[in-house]
């Protein structure tokens, strides 16, 4: 059965992606869903929940509300909550039930904007798409509303696409910042971990943008269109690949042409990395350049397949993933993929928070600018 998971887990949903991307930006994220689902969005998928406050509002949609199309209660509750909590903006997103009854979040956003005077955006989520889709939509909507015109500065950069769903809280994002600073770049903002809303509003200042996960690609395209800065996709994993990525940043700034250096691989089926396209592809490039392994990426979810290498594959179902694992000698994947990995294939635990939540977050290693060696993976 296509797109069915009998054994393995599934990735975080689009709604979780919205909550994660907007977590630090001072708004109120409203999830139109039945009560009881709060913990999925805000604790299992969100390691910052215990460290930083954020306004996540669950509408507690009831069967009666759904049958009667009781949007008025939702609007009244949100207006009251907004008056009490004073968020900077409101973001509305849906779940399966509103999808079935056709709740019009764009229209509700228009109505709420008139009633609250706050910036409001409706996001097209239904709880059944990838977290990448939700995070991407949320960041684009945010930038469209809050970016201001600022003069551009040379050697300045935004980091785009940072959420704990792809980077956990293991210091990776901080290491990317430090790597950029150490190489003479001014970091304008990091979207959306560790930067203030004011810093993000000045994103147009950057001369180049670094996209560190595919949920940042649409935002980078938007910034390119509006402010003219090209983007480079990639995470500076390993020693040699981080040097390549730095060259790509310089080249992009010089030529104005976007770059995806991680896609310049000619991997074989013998070593596979499973994960989000930019992070997994960068990790594969680092394994290739530092360890001499020839690696392909198995990507269960991709927003823009064109940034993958020719040797990589989009795989969206469990059976195809098991078949791809059977062709490999070595597989790097989240531990929850292990049950579909055949005996005889070496399985290397490579946890991904968007797939296994908090289960293995302590095992997620920070590979930024760190030379990879085969013995690190017992190879």
């Amino acid at each position: 059965m296509k797109q069915t998971a009998r054994i393995i887990s599934i990735y975080a949903s689009d709604t979780a992606g919205v909550c994660s991307m907007l977590y630090e930006l001072g708004g109120m994220t409203i999830v139109h869903d039945a009560s009881g689902c709060n913990s999925t969005y805000s604790t299992h998928d969100e390691p910052r929940w215990y460290q930083h406050d954020s306004m996540i509002y669950i509408s507690a949609l009831t069967e009666t509300d759904a049958i009667l199309g009781n949007d008025a209660r939702l609007v009244d509750d949100i207006v009251r909550a907004a008056e009490e909590m004073k968020p900077r903006f409101l973001a509305l997103c849906g779940s399966p039930m509103p999808m079935m009854i056709g709740t019009d979040f764009d229209a509700l956003a228009t109505e709420l904007e008139q009633k609250t005077g706050l910036p409001v955006f409706g996001l097209h989520t239904n709880g059944m798409n990838s977290y990448l889709n939700g995070a991407s939509q949320a960041l684009c909507a945010y930038l469209k509303r809050f970016c201001i015109e600022v003069p551009k500065e040379k050697k300045s950069v935004n980091i785009i696409g940072a959420t704990p769903l792809d980077f956990s809280l293991n210091g990776s994002v901080g290491s990317i910042r430090s790597w950029l600073k150490d190489n003479g770049y001014q970091v304008v903002s990091c979207m959306a971990m560790g930067s203030s809303p004011e810093e993000i509003s000045r994103a147009g200042k950057a001369s180049v943008n670094l996209v560190i996960s595919s949920c940042g690609l649409a935002a980078a395209e938007y910034l390119k269109k509006r402010f003219g800065a090209p983007w480079v996709s990639g995470v500076p994993y390993g020693k040699s690949f981080s040097a390549q990525l730095l060259n790509a940043l310089e080249l992009a700034e010089k030529t104005g042409i976007c770059q995806s250096p991680h896609a310049a691989r000619t991997g074989t089926k013998k070593v596979a990395v499973v994960g989000e396209s930019v992070t997994a592809s960068s990790f594969a490039a680092a394994l290739e350049t530092d360890c001499g392994l020839s690696v392909r990426v198995l990507c269960p979810q991709a927003l823009q397949p064109s940034i993958l290498a020719d040797c990589d594959s989009l795989i969206d179902c469990e059976d195809s993933m098991a078949a791809a694992f059977a062709e490999a000698d070595v597989v790097f994947a989240d531990p929850l993929f292990e049950p579909v990995c055949p005996r005889g294939t070496i399985f290397i635990r490579h946890p991904h928070e968007a797939f296994s939540g908090r289960c293995f977050s302590g095992e997620i290693r920070n590979f930024v600018c760190r030379e990879l060696k085969r013995e690190m993976f017992s190879l």
Partner: protein
Amino acid sequence: MIKIAIYGKGGIGKSTVTSNLAAAFARLGKKVIQIGCDPKADSTINLLNGDPVMPVMNYLREYDKEPEQISDIAKEGFGGILCIETGGPTPGLGCAGRGIITTFSLLEDLKLFETYQPDVVLYDVLGDVVCGGFAAPIRENYADHVLIVTSGEKMALYAANNINSAVQNFADRAYAKVFGLVMNRRSVEKEEEKVRAFAEANGLEIVADIPRSNDIIHWEDQGKTIVEGAPELPVSQQFLALAQKFLQEEK
């Protein structure tokens, strides 16, 4: 692009009005799409010489996958009008409103408007705005104008009032606005007086007055609209005048 949703009581002649209006726009040289949003899936049949297009819901049922190209679920009819029908679920099961939303979402994925670049899009919607799905055609980015088809019959005016109220309720939402009433005459006593009274009470204009005509039935029996079959007749001229009115408004 002119985007119009046509509503009205069941059996009042919405599909006849919609198809004739589509044919009128086509006769005026416009590129037209007509989307039937009724589970009966018979909105466009008189633009297709009686040879119906496969409705989107039937495609999903038959092939168990989403259509991959527009031609899977669309067919060109009279004057190059692109005909699409949402169709409906298995009778007595499923959710027809959800079917409309799904169809619209599929058409968006297939980039219908970007590919076909129509001048006019007509949505022929089932009887009343009964739920979110049936309001989908009047949402932002879909129809800009609503036409309400009514006769002088009490229940037709009752439905027209419900539809008008539903559209008014969405005033805060940037939805379509009512363009006017199409009076589809049924030989009711004091018909014009009744419809005019309703229009005045609600601040609406009667934008077309369609006389009861056996010629419409004559041409429909042949799988055609009267605008296709006999454009010179006064009934056809009413539809052409309505199309002109929209084009003038657009200018």
